[in-house]
Amino acid sequence: MTPYEKLKLTRQNGRPTGVAFINGIIDDRIELHGDRRYAEDAAIISGIGSLDGMPVTYIAIEKGVDLATRMKTNFGCPKPEGYRKALRLMKQAEKFGRPVVCFVDTSGAYPGAEAEERGQGEAIAENIIEMLGLKTPTISVVIGEGGSGGALALCSSDRVYMMENAVYSVISPEGCASILWKDASRAEDAAQCLRITADDMKNFGVAETIIPENYEDFAATCAVIKQNLKDDLNELLKKDTDTLLEERYLRFRKFGIYEENGETHGTVAYAL
C-alpha cells in the first residue's frame, strides 16, 4: 500500500475506532467525563480500568462509527475541553501512581472558532508539557490517523506504538498539498513526501513498536497490543521517577536533523 492508501484506510468505514480498542484491551472500565472547567467532549473517551490486573488510566480519541456518533465526536477532532479532560485524568493517574495509555486517532484538533476562543493552542501546549513531566509511565498507540499537534497532545509519552497501517504527520497531506501546490487533490504526492507510515516512524525513532493488523481477528490484534503494553509498563514501572523522566526527556531531545559547522547531526540514519 502507498502512504496515501494507508491514510485512506485509516479513514475507512468499519475500521475499529478508539472505543473498540478500549473495549478489547481494558477491563473493569469506569468512564470518567468532563474537564471540570467548561464541558465534556465526546471526541475523547477516558476513564480508569484494568490491564490484566494493573490499574491504568485510558484516554482515547474517538472518531465515531456512524453519522450520529461522528457528529457527536466532531469526527474525532477534540476541542480544548477534550484535551483538558485528558490532562485532568493524567494528573489523577499521577496521583495514584497508575500508568496512562492513550489511543490516538484524529485528523487534528478541532479548528473551529469556539475552539480558538477557548485556547486550543494553549490546551495542546499544556498537555504536551505536562505529559513530559508526568511522574507515571505513559504509552500512546496511534491506531489510525496521528494528525499533527492534536495527536502530539496525547503522544508525548515514554513509548509510542503505531498500528501497521496507521499514519502520523505534521500536517494532513491535503493541507500540505494545498499549501505547496495550491491543489488539495495532490494529497497523494504530499503523503509520499511527508513520510507518514509506521515504518517511517520507526526509522525516525518517533515510534518504538509496530503492531501488525489482523483483519480477520481483531481480538488477536488487541491481545498483541495488550501484551506489549504489559511488558513495557512492567518495565517502566520499575524505574524510579527521576530515571523515567530523564529517559523521556532524552527520547524527545534526540529529534532533529541539522548541520552544525559542516557536520550533520541527528540520531536518525535515515535512508530515503
Binding site: 479548528p111 472558532a113 486550543q120 501546549a125 505534521v170 532533529g256
Partner: protein, 271 residues
C-alpha cells in the same frame, strides 16, 4: 560585529509600511521602534533589530550559531526556499538565540524571525530554542522568548512536529527548577509554536494587534461556515479570552520586562 555591519548596510534603505504604504528610511523607523510614524502599524521586525531594541548594548552574546537546516526528506522546493531565505535575511535560520542583560538583569533570549520562511519551526529552530532553555537552566536565569511563526516546518515532516515536544521538554526542566520564562507573542504566532512553547510561559505578553492563534483563519472559516470578527485571533482577542497576561506597546516593553525581571530576582529581602 556582523550585526553592526548588517544594520549599517540597511540604514540607508527605505521601507514601506504595509498598512498605509508610506515610505520611511530605516533610520527613521529604527528610532520609532518600527511602529509606523504615520499610521501606528506595528511592523514585523527581524531578530537582530529586536535584540537591538531590548537587550543592553554590547551585552548580547549569541550562541548556537553555525546551525543550518538539512533537506533530509528531499522535499519539493525546500532547498530553494532555504537558499532564498538565507540570502534575503543573512541569517542561518528563523531564530536567534543568546544571552545578555535587559536593564542589567541577565537572561537568555530567543527571537524568532518571520522573514525567514515565516519562522516555521524545523530541526534548527527547535534545537536552538532547546539549547536556550538548557543554557538558562544551567545558569539559573530567566528566558525571554519572542515568538513568531507560521507553525511547524512541514518540509521536515514528523521531525518538525517532534520539535514541539523537544522544546516543551526543555521548558519543563527550566520551569521545574524555579526559573522564569516570559513569552512575548509577536505577529504572527500560530500553529505548532502556539501549541507549544509560545503558550508555556509563566508570564505571557503580546504586542498590540499581533495575530495569535492555532488554526489558520481560512480553515476556521471553512469549519465554522461563517464570517469571523475582524479582531479574531488578535492579541486583544486572546487577552479578552484569558490567554495572555497583558498587551504591551513596544515603547513600554523594556520597562515592563525590567519590572518583571526585578520582581523575580533571587534576592528578595525587603529594603
Amino acid at each position: 560585529m556582523i550585526f553592526d555591519k548588517w544594520i549599517a548596510a540597511f540604514s540607508h534603505e527605505k521601507l514601506t509600511c504595509g498598512a498605509c504604504k508610506k515610505e520611511f528610511s530605516v533610520k527613521e523607523l529604527r528610532k520609532a521602534l518600527y511602529i509606523c510614524p504615520e499610521c501606528n502599524k506595528y511592523m514585523r521586525i527581524g531578530g537582530r533589530e529586536r535584540i537591538n531594541q531590548v537587550v543592553d548594548k554590547k551585552s548580547f552574546e549569541e550562541f548556537a550559531t553555525g546551525l543550518s537546516s538539512v533537506d533530509f526528506l528531499e522535499f519539493p522546493g525546500y532547498s530553494d526556499k532555504l537558499t532564498k531565505a538565507i540570502d534575503a535575511t543573512g541569517e542561518d535560520d528563523a531564530v536567534i538565540c543568546g544571552h545578555g542583560t535587559v536593564n542589567g538583569y541577565p537572561c537568555a533570549i530567543f527571537v524568532m524571525d518571520s522573514r525567514f520562511m515565516m519562522a516555521s519551526m524545523g530541526s534548527v529552530v527547535g534545537e536552538k530554542i532547546t539549547r536556550t532553555f538548557e543554557y538558562a537552566t544551567e545558569h539559573h536565569i530567566p528566558v525571554i522568548g519572542f515568538t513568531a511563526s507560521g507553525g511547524a516546518r512541514m518540509q521536515e515532516g514528523i521531525i518538525s512536529l517532534m520539535q514541539m515536544a523537544k522544546c516543551s521538554a526543555a521548558v519543563k526542566k527550566h520551569s521545574t527548577e524555579g526559573n522564569l520564562y516570559i513569552t512575548v507573542l509577536t505577529d504572527p504566532t500560530t500553529g505548532g509554536v502556539t501549541a507549544s512553547f509560545a503558550m508555556q510561559g509563566d508570564i505571557t505578553l503580546a504586542e498590540p494587534n499581533a495575530l495569535v492563534g492555532f488554526a489558520g483563519r481560512r480553515v476556521v472559516e471553512q469549519t465554522t461556515k461563517s464570517q469571523l470578527p475582524d479582531n479574531f485571533q488578535s492579541a486583544e482577542f486572546i487577552l479578552e479570552h484569558g490567554f495572555a497576561d497583558a498587551i504591551v506597546p513596544r515603547e513600554e516593553l523594556i520597562d515592563t520586562l525590567t519590572t518583571i525581571l526585578k520582581l523575580h530576582r533571587k534576592e528578595q529581602a525587603a529594603g
